[in-house]
């Protein structure tokens, strides 16, 4: 089922938490929802799950508005702080959630077994939720979200509190699920988005500031090629001057004069690796380092959200 968000707006007092945003997510797509704290991620997710009312705009799931209140059984939702009934045993809790999602009685044991297996809860399944560690609680939260095999998964920071091994497991799980389902997940952890999401959506102050895959966002942000170069066996000033004269080089900067490290920015849409190499060969210099500088997702995020 597709999710279509149309001109969604929500304000608290004078502050617009979500400001006229529109986007859609297709089946088989994992959308990473990024943004600083208070950007409107959670508010948007709460509107998709029909927990808070939509002020303006609409959200369609499989073409049907969620305002009807009938779409909730197609959605699996893991809320932000993963609220759970701490005094309930894991199995009872999953059974409760399954019944509330109208899973038929004969299917419930099968679904619970499936979820216990999928989320690795086998050892802990008879314990009370309150006795579980944070990582296992998170797994219980994921299990309840998926218990009714929903077409849509909304996960608000699904990997908080997990250890690195668990994070990798959960990411794999989300990737796997994402092949047949529509998944929206929010996170602060940027490498996570790259590892799990097909598409990234960055919002800030309630507005969409970027939308695309990690590589397209990089390209947009990067613009010019930047190389970090170290050249041995030459006079630094001489190298500096000659580098500057190259046709495709826009700017040369000293990083470290003593060791002959330079940062070279190429003319827009040009590559200067070859020229630099040839220059070194011609002058008998040793090109000992030539590292293309990649804009990190963190930098893109900072660029877009700090203004």
């Amino acid at each position: 089922m597709d999710i279509q968000i149309q001109q969604l707006t929500k304000s608290y007092g004078f502050q617009k938490a979500v400001d006229n945003i529109s986007f859609s997510v297709k089946t088989g797509e994992v959308l990473g929802f990024l943004g600083p704290n208070g950007a409107g991620k959670t508010t948007t997710m709460k509107m998709i799950t029909n927990y808070i009312d939509i002020e303006q705009g609409d959200i369609l799931i499989g073409g049907q508005s969620i305002k009807s209140g009938k779409m909730n059984r197609h959605i699996g939702y893991l809320p932000e702080h993963n609220p759970l009934y701490l005094d309930m045993p894991v199995i009872d809790y999953l059974e409760y959630c399954a019944s509330l999602q109208s899973v038929s009685k004969s299917m419930i044991p099968t679904r619970i077994r499936e979820m216990v297996r999928l989320c690795g809860l086998d050892v802990e399944k008879h314990k009370k939720i309150g006795e579980l560690s944070k990582g296992y609680r998170q797994r219980v939260g994921l299990a309840q979200a998926m218990i009714h095999d929903p077409a849509i998964l909304i996960l608000d920071e699904p990997t908080t509190g997990l250890d690195p091994n668990q994070i990798i497991e959960i990411r794999d799980l989300i990737r796997q699920l994402g092949k047949q389902k529509t998944v929206i997940l929010s996170t602060h952890i940027l490498p996570e988005v790259e590892a799990t999401c097909d598409r990234i959506l960055i919002i800030n102050h309630g507005k969409i500031v970027a939308d695309g895959t990690a590589s397209t966002l990089r390209k947009q942000a990067q613009g010019q090629q930047v190389l970090k170069v170290k050249i041995d066996e030459g006079d630094s000033n001489d190298i500096f001057e000659k580098l500057q004269k190259l046709e495709h080089v826009a700017m040369v900067d000293f990083v470290d004069r003593a060791t002959n490290r330079f940062e070279i920015q190429s003319v827009a849409e040009m590559q200067s690796n070859k020229e630099i190499f040839n220059l070194c060969v011609k002058n008998n210099w040793v090109l000992s380092e030539c590292i293309p500088f990649e804009t990190k997702l963190e930098d893109i995020f900072r660029d877009l959200t700090l203004n």
Binding site: Y12, K46, T49, N50, Y51, I52, D53, G69, N72, R73, I75, Y77, P79, H81, P83, L84, Y85, L86, D87, Y96, C97, S99, L100, Q101, S102, K105, Q144
Partner: protein, 238 residues
Amino acid sequence: MNPVWVIAKKELNGYFNSLIGYLILSIFLIFIGAFTWLIGNDVFIRQQASLDEFFGWAPMFLLFIVPALTMKQIAEEKRSGTIELLLTKNVSSRQLVLGKFLACFLMVCITIAFTIPYYLTIVQLGNADHGAIIGGYIGLLLLSAAFTAIGIFASSLKDNQIVAFLLALVINVIFLFILGFVGNYFSGWVGDILNTLSIPNHYTSISRGVLDTKDIVYFGSLIFLFLFLAELKISKKS
């Protein structure tokens, strides 16, 4: 299975899986037993095979017992955030309120059912008025249902159980004592309205064995009103 029943079953199990259910049950039975059989104007002093004393005292204890049962129902879900979990599932605010109400009401019914041996005892002791006793139980159930609805409403307002308990207690006291008390000071239609709104006015006539439609409508409206307000409170999400 209907979500109302799923929720009711879970909450009812919750009472018996923790100490609260047993505690409330025993507190009620200890006090009502003492006041019916041992203390004050009890059955043996009156020398009558009647449960009037029981039906007179029961509302005084239900006044506390019912809010103690209902206080956590919605307030705790709000505090822990699990209400978000419930309402984003295939459950409407109405079903949630009804499920919670049903669980608490059934718990009160179970508590009251433990006093049936009193009836069996009284029947052995003399010529009991069966009509009055059955009427008394019906009145008690209606009263408990009204208190439960008030308690659920109080619990839906804030995320604090103590506030929910005290608020429910205050509303119960208003309906049980204050309306009638103030009503007696007014003559004419003001007094009539206040008296009509007070619980004892309706409860006593039912517990005399007179089952009047207007009393049933009264309790029905109280239950409906407070459950409706609770639903309104929960479904207003911003």
